[in-house]
């Protein structure tokens, strides 16, 4: 029994995988973050009165200071540079470690002033997972430089090293959804979707109480369609609580992942909270090796060689 569990544990985390999945997820994840945070200015936190400072446990425990406006400008410039370097795979390990350390500090800053938001916490966890990974072994400037230095070197083999970081990011994300679902059930039970609760929420957010305005002002209209809010509330609880199934069922995975994306977009569109960057974590669900295979097949089919081959084949048939 224990032996079988150990095998399942090893298979889940460390079954050999190609570098492609992890490397392309790394490229797109850090590309998305670079573009998302490039216009974002964290320096203002260095200018907020200490009167509003209500430290979260991490800053309190580690004694992290709120740096000055000038110092934050330097820190955020280095962090954004590290995101870009992690994307292209330049000094990848160092870049990802810098992205994790400075990202934890910068993304955590605002939570010390009044309210802890939840849209960036999973990003910080992903930073640390990637910082300890070998995501730069392929599809990176580092790999290209290694190959140039040693033309006889063998291409990267499949390894468990390229599986566990993806699995851990996805497990962490599944636990985020699961936590949100169970928190609702524990606090309110089935009343969360059998009462007017969500309809009331859709009206409340019209009073400028979210961190950003909803994309659309239809919330109040939706709240007045009979049972629409109840149905949305039920779907929310269902997808959040059952989300971890996506880790184990290939058949359910597309449904659960699309459901999760729908929840995030629905919350942003009708209620306001800015979860856009959270969506980037979904890149880790994509089997990029298969996408690469499809792209290569499509490219081969369109290449000039292919029609000739096809005509030869037709000639033979004739």
């Amino acid at each position: 029994m224990i032996g079988r569990l150990a095998v399942q544990w090893r298979t889940f985390w460390f079954a050999p995988a190609p570098i492609t999945n992890l490397a392309i997820a790394r490229i797109l994840f850090f590309l998305g973050l670079t573009l998302f945070y490039l216009p974002h200015d964290f320096s203002g936190w260095g200018d907020v009165s200490p009167a509003l400072y209500q430290p979260i446990w991490l800053f309190d425990f580690l004694g992290l200071p709120i740096l000055s406006l000038q110092a934050l400008n330097v820190v955020q410039a280095v962090w954004k540079l590290s995101l870009a370097c992690a994307c292209i795979g330049l000094y990848t390990r160092t870049s990802m470690m810098v992205a994790a350390i400075l990202g934890t500090y910068l993304l955590g800053l605002g939570h010390n002033f009044g309210q802890t938001y939840h849209f960036d916490a999973i990003l910080v966890i992903a930073f640390w997972i990637l910082a300890f990974s070998r995501a730069g072994d392929g599809w990176s400037v580092d790999a290209a430089r290694r190959a140039a230095r040693d033309p006889g070197s063998r291409p990267v083999e499949t390894s468990g090293e390229y599986r566990w970081p993806i699995q851990l990011v996805l497990v962490a994300m599944s636990l985020v959804f699961f936590a949100a679902g169970t928190a609702k059930l524990r606090a309110s039970g089935v009343q969360w979707f059998t009462t007017d609760h969500l309809a009331i929420l859709l009206d409340r957010v019209q009073y400028h109480i979210s961190d950003a305005e909803p994309w659309f002002t239809w919330g109040s209209t939706v709240a007045r369609i009979p049972y629409a809010a109840n149905l949305m509330a039920f779907a929310t609880i269902f997808f959040e609580t059952a989300y971890p199934l996506a880790l184990f069922s290939r058949r359910l995975r597309p449904v659960m992942v699309m459901g999760g994306i729908g929840l995030i977009l629905g919350i942003r569109a009708l209620m306001g909270p800015t979860f856009e960057n959270f969506l980037l974590i979904n890149l880790f669900w994509v089997p990029w090796d298969r996408v690469e295979g499809w792209v290569r097949s499509a490219a081969t089919a369109r290449s000039p060689v292919a029609p000739a081959a096809r005509s030869e084949h037709l000639t033979e048939i004739r």
Binding site: V48, L52, G110, V176, Q206
Partner: protein, 161 residues
């Protein structure tokens, strides 16, 4: 994978699992881990009560709610009210609330003069505790059912001191 490397990876896996599950089970928050409690508690009444909002006072005495992000930056219309409400509801924090408001007015005026937002000039700030009976599309946004003055601070020139 070497034994040492495997140990590091397993420690990381254990850390992520333990941090996440601990907060879920104990309903606590240790950012970046959390039990994700947002919107979890059911609202039963069609009201929005006990909401703190900062209003700027123009030279003509007009009161204008400050809710736009560029006017509150780096704070926002959710973080500021929740944070300042927590301060205001703890006894003995009057000076701290006034200091926070002074800081908000200083930054608002500095950013206005720098052209970073288009809000009107304010001479004073007032912090109100507001309550509404919910209406579709917040039709009564400017006419709350209840409105209690919590704190007020003076001239922008004082705020710069």
């Amino acid at each position: 994978m070497t034994q040492r490397r495997a140990a590091v990876v397993h420690l990381l896996i254990a850390g992520v699992l333990a941090g996440s599950l601990y907060d879920i089970v104990t309903s606590q928050e240790h950012w970046p881990f959390s039990d994700y409690p947002m919107f979890a508690t059911v609202h039963r009444k069609h009201v929005l009560d006990n909401w703190y909002r900062v209003f700027g006072i123009t030279s003509s005495g007009q009161e204008v709610a400050i809710v736009a992000y560029p006017e509150l930056w780096p704070l926002d219309q959710s973080r500021l009210p929740l944070g300042i409400r927590r301060l205001a509801q703890e006894p003995g924090n009057e000076a701290r609330v006034r200091a926070a408001l002074t800081d908000i007015l200083r930054r608002y005026e500095e950013r206005r003069r720098a052209g970073l937002h288009n809000g009107p000039a304010f001479e004073r700030l007032k912090l109100y505790k507001l309550g509404w009976d919910l209406e579709p599309n917040a039709a009564n946004l400017d006419h709350p059912r209840s409105r209690v003055l919590v704190a007020e601070i003076g001239q922008a020139s004082e705020a710069r001191q």
